[in-house]
């Protein structure tokens, strides 16, 4: 293994932790990180701060390119994996380059989840996952003064803070689907509602969204069961779903995410998954969970790295941070921040 080519799909916390772990424990492995985004590894949960102007893009970055050169880790940015052939042990990039791998760690993270019935309005909603998204927010915020947030998840809360600091009018539609990843039990819903209204956010209940239309380049009309609202920006926050579409035909077990055992191993030799894209089956809780959040990602990345090198570490289920959402169990380390 040690001499073979270890490829890591993804450039998030899990991916980078995995890469560094591999490097620390195997000096001569050839390591490549393939990241879909053009940005170097950054801290996604700080994006709202960046939007608020309190951080620069540099502040978001974790390491410098030079750092990776020193570690002898090849980083490919803005390159998308479109297919993985586990028999030939090759992966194909969207510009049709074929890369062979000995070991593989899938840590491609999650992508913004939009409920099917809202997908038709995709291009009218803003989400927040990448610096590119942030740039869009910054650009549009300069022109509008009101924002409607539907769904609501942990990102949306920190974003709300940022928006308030920019003196924007924020409306929060709390009852769109479940609050994610935390199930919106009344007690918690009240807690959040209180927290928001205290800060001057209008929290409304408006039922399902029926229609979204752009009336002018500065305003969008949102029609729900019982309301019609005009706002500058419509922000959709339904949390993450693992970003594993490209594995569909590969023969890997995919449900919400890549199904792995507690050692993060897939059905294939030397192929592991870590971070937001892994759906881990855990014997102690007798169920699958998808872990969300920076800290979890780092832990999983480390374990995947070590196990790929022959380790037998199992992930801990940290039961106190597990929630049942949308038919799957979610393990997050973010929610405790509130």
């Amino acid at each position: 293994m040690a001499q073979e080519h270890c490829v890591i799909i993804g450039n998030g916390p899990a991916a980078n932790q995995a890469a560094l772990t591999l490097r620390e424990n195997s000096s001569d492995a050839r390591i490549t990180i393939v990241g879909q985004e053009p940005f170097p590894h950054y801290r996604p949960h700080l994006l709202p701060e960046y939007i608020a102007g309190r951080l620069s893009q540099e502040d978001l970055c974790v390491n410098t390119p030079a750092f990776y050169k020193e570690c002898g880790i090849k980083v490919r940015l803005g390159q998308k994996v479109v297919h993985v052939d586990f028999n030939k042990r090759e992966l194909v990039l969207d510009h049709k380059e074929v890369i062979s791998f000995g070991g593989l760690i899938i840590a491609c993270g999650g992508k913004q989840r939009i409920p099917e019935h809202l997908q038709v309005f995709d291009d009218l909603m803003l989400t927040l996952k990448t610096p590119a998204d942030a740039a869009q927010w910054i650009e549009q915020l300069s022109q509008v003064d009101s924002v409607l947030i539907v769904g609501g998840d942990l990102t949306s809360l920190s974003l709300t803070k940022a928006l308030l600091s920019l003196e924007k009018r924020v409306i929060f539609m709390l009852n769109e689907d479940s609050f994610w990843p935390v199930p919106l039990c009344n007690e918690l819903s009240e807690k959040i509602k209180h927290m928001l209204t205290e800060r001057g956010v209008e929290v409304i209940k408006a039922g399902r969204i029926k229609r979204v239309t752009r009336v002018s380049d500065r305003s969008i009309e949102v029609e729900t069961d019982n309301k019609t609202l005009r706002v500058g920006i419509l922000g959709a926050f339904f949390g993450m779903t693992p970003n594993v579409k490209f594995l569909a035909r590969s023969g890997l077990d995919i449900e919400r995410g890549v199904l792995v055992d507690e050692y993060l191993q897939t059905r294939f030799d030397l192929v592991y998954a870590a971070g937001d894209c892994a759906q881990v089956y855990h014997p102690t809780i007798k169920d699958y969970w998808v872990s969300i959040g920076y800290q979890n990602a780092i832990n999983l990345g480390k374990i995947a790295g070590l196990n790929l090198l022959g380790g037998m570490l199992s992930v801990d289920a940290s039961p106190e941070s597990i929630f049942f959402v949308d038919g799957i169990i979610v393990n997050t380390s973010w929610w405790t921040e509130f």
């Binding site: 170097p40 490919r76 940015l77 803005g78 990039l93 510009h95 049709k96 380059e97 590119a132």
Partner: protein
């Protein structure tokens, strides 16, 4: 306005439309008011090991040389473009086809070579082009469209140029190209909207005189026409062919003719014949062809028939490196050929000089009745600069040094020995001046004569004539703050641009350094050069040849050995290399 200084490369296989794409970039940027210096290199096989690269340095201040580093690379063929990766600057931008016909393994892929900080713009050029125009023929334009969109170059700026370039090729071709370009432009806007970089901020009003894009070859062609060229004889050879092609397009309208001969031997012969009969003619060739010509050139020296020969130098002996640049014909030009055969050799250093010295060559050739060789080179001939349209004054062109009719006093001596060494020239058809020109050693009347006295007299006369021409030749030009200099850099031909850039940046760093540009290769201004050398503690002569041919020619003038800096990479001299050497010399000088 921020300083713009960007080097853009298009790289592809010959046949990919690489050169065309590069040309469009230059035109557009020139129209946009930038100064442009561009240089293409294309292969000896049309599709063989056929790498084509165009490099355009674009800036809003004057540009005298190429940059070593590339900031934008447009790849029309990834396998070829891989070779350009080492030349990329940090955070460079790459445009490449994201959906090539076949899958590529990691070790053959362009992208795999790149640093993470490289900014990737992968777009399916082929598909976009085909989808928009039904053919992949316009994929180079598609790539250009993407480039234009991303770099914030105005859409209509490029469209304007494309229309100008292709309308003659018929509506179909034009539309194909426009559609392909637009498709690329729109695709980029749609898919990379968040990554647009406004690099090329076009100044609202373009200052100064209207500039035109000229290659060295075009400048030479135009100069010849302005100088009253009537006949051109030539044989296709890289890199001189474009001169013939330029003249073939423009000369006939002015009553001149371009005649493609069966080889260089015939070409120079016809040129001599034409001048003999009093018509200005020219031929252009490169090393191999020039070698064929030497015998007839010396015939011109001997028979004192004017001729203008352009030698666009390329690389290596024999067929050598037909598509690479080198300055290794200096010896051949000055000394090549049988016997003592002094001839005038001039070497321009930029496109403007290509123009003015070509004009001058005709004047000198006729005044001194001898072949004049203009030493250009691949880089100088094919580089494109934008400059105000050059014009030649009457005094620059005029004078054929032919005796007026009925001016005969006594008997006519075609090869009369005079103080200047210049003999009275007459043309066939003039009454009472009948004479025979011959390549045999001859008397003042042109009668063959091998007597020792005669040969000594005549040889001496022919040399005196050439030395005397010095007064009419462009004198060396110095670039320094005067006074004592730690290092003096002397150069010629296309290399001098790089020298000037190096010297300038050295001076900006406070070094006592100066440059001397020599354009008169033979005869040369010994006294001027000596004066300069005496003020310098070190003399550095960078040349694109192995032997240091200029150093060999003028080195003896310096009190101590001159420092040679020689390169035979086939590529233009990188300013950085010269700067490095200068700094080194200054250092050792201090110790």
């Amino acid at each position: 306005m921020p300083v713009v200084d960007v080097t853009v490369e298009v790289c592809g296989m010959a046949g990919d439309g690489t050169i065309a794409a590069g040309g469009l970039i230059n035109e557009a940027m020139s129209d946009g008011g930038f100064s442009v210096l561009a240089f293409d290199s294309y292969p000896a096989e049309i599709r063989g090991f056929g790498r084509c690269v165009t490099r355009s340095r674009i800036g809003n201040e004057e540009i005298v040389a190429l940059e070593d580093k590339t900031h934008v690379l447009i790849s029309l063929n990834d396998e070829q473009a891989r070779s350009r990766v080492p030349f990329l600057s940090e955070n460079s931008m790459i445009f490449f086809d994201s959906n090539p016909a076949v899958y590529v393994r990691e070790d053959k892929s362009l992208v795999s070579e790149l640093d993470p900080e490289t900014i990737l713009f992968g777009m399916p050029f082929n598909d976009i082009a085909t989808a928009s125009a039904g053919t992949t023929r316009g994929r180079n334009l598609t790539a250009l469209g993407c480039f234009a969109a991303i770099c914030g170059a105005p859409h209509d700026l490029f469209r304007g140029v494309i229309i100008r370039k292709f309308k003659s090729k018929g509506e179909k071709v034009l539309q194909t190209n426009l559609r392909s370009f637009d498709a690329g432009f729109d695709y980029a806007l749609e898919h990379f909207s968040n990554r647009i970089k406004s690099i090329f901020l076009i100044p609202d009003k373009v200052g100064g005189p209207k500039k035109v894009l000229l290659s060295g070859n075009q400048a030479i062609g135009k100069a010849a026409i302005d100088a009253g060229l009537k006949l051109y004889f030539g044989y296709p050879i890289t890199p001189a062919t474009p001169i013939m092609e330029y003249l073939a397009t423009h000369l006939p309208a002015l009553g001149g003719r371009v005649i493609q001969m069966e080889d260089e031997i015939a070409s120079i012969g016809a040129v001599l014949g034409s001048f003999y009969a009093g018509t200005r003619a020219m031929t252009a060739t490169s090393g191999p062809g020039f070698a064929l010509m030497t015998e007839l050139i010396t015939h011109g020296v001997m028979a004192e028939i004017p001729a203008v020969i352009i030698n666009a130098q390329r690389g290596g002996p024999s067929t050598g490196l037909p598509t690479k640049t080198e300055q290794s014909d200096l010896h051949a030009a000055v000394f090549g050929g049988p016997g003592d055969s002094p001839r005038i050799v001039i070497a321009p250093t930029n496109v403007a000089e290509c123009y003015h010295y070509t004009v001058k060559s005709f004047q000198l050739a006729e005044k001194y009745q001898t072949p004049v060789i203009l030493l250009a080179d691949f880089y100088l001939d094919n580089r494109v600069e934008n400059l105000p349209m050059p014009e030649a004054s009457e005094s620059e062109k005029s004078g054929s040094n032919v005796l007026p009719e009925n001016s005969l006093k006594g008997s006519y001596r075609r090869y009369e020995i005079t103080e200047s060494g210049i003999s009275p020239r007459a043309l066939p058809g003039m009454e009472g001046f009948i004479f025979s020109a011959t390549g045999l050693e001859h008397t003042q009347t042109g009668v063959p004569d091998y007597s020792p006295e005669n040969h000594m007299l005549m040889t001496e006369k022919r040399h005196r004539k050439i030395t005397g021409a010095l007064g009419d030749l462009p004198s060396p030009e110095e670039f320094s703050s005067g006074g004592k200099l730690d290092v003096g850099v002397i150069g010629w031909g296309s290399t001098f641009g790089s020298i000037l850039e190096a010297v300038t940046s050295a001076r900006n760093r406070g070094l006592r350094v100066g440059g001397l540009k020599i354009t008169s290769i033979f005869p040369f201004h010994e006294s001027v050069i000596r004066a300069f050398m005496n003020r310098c503690s070190e003399i550095l002569i960078p040349e694109l040849n192995y032997a240091g041919q200029l150093a060999n020619l003028i080195g003896y003038i310096h009190s101590k050995d001159v420092v040679r800096l020689n390169r035979v990479t086939g590529t233009p001299f990188p300013p950085s290399a010269i700067l490095e050497k200068i700094e080194y010399l200054v250092q050792v000088g201090d110790e």
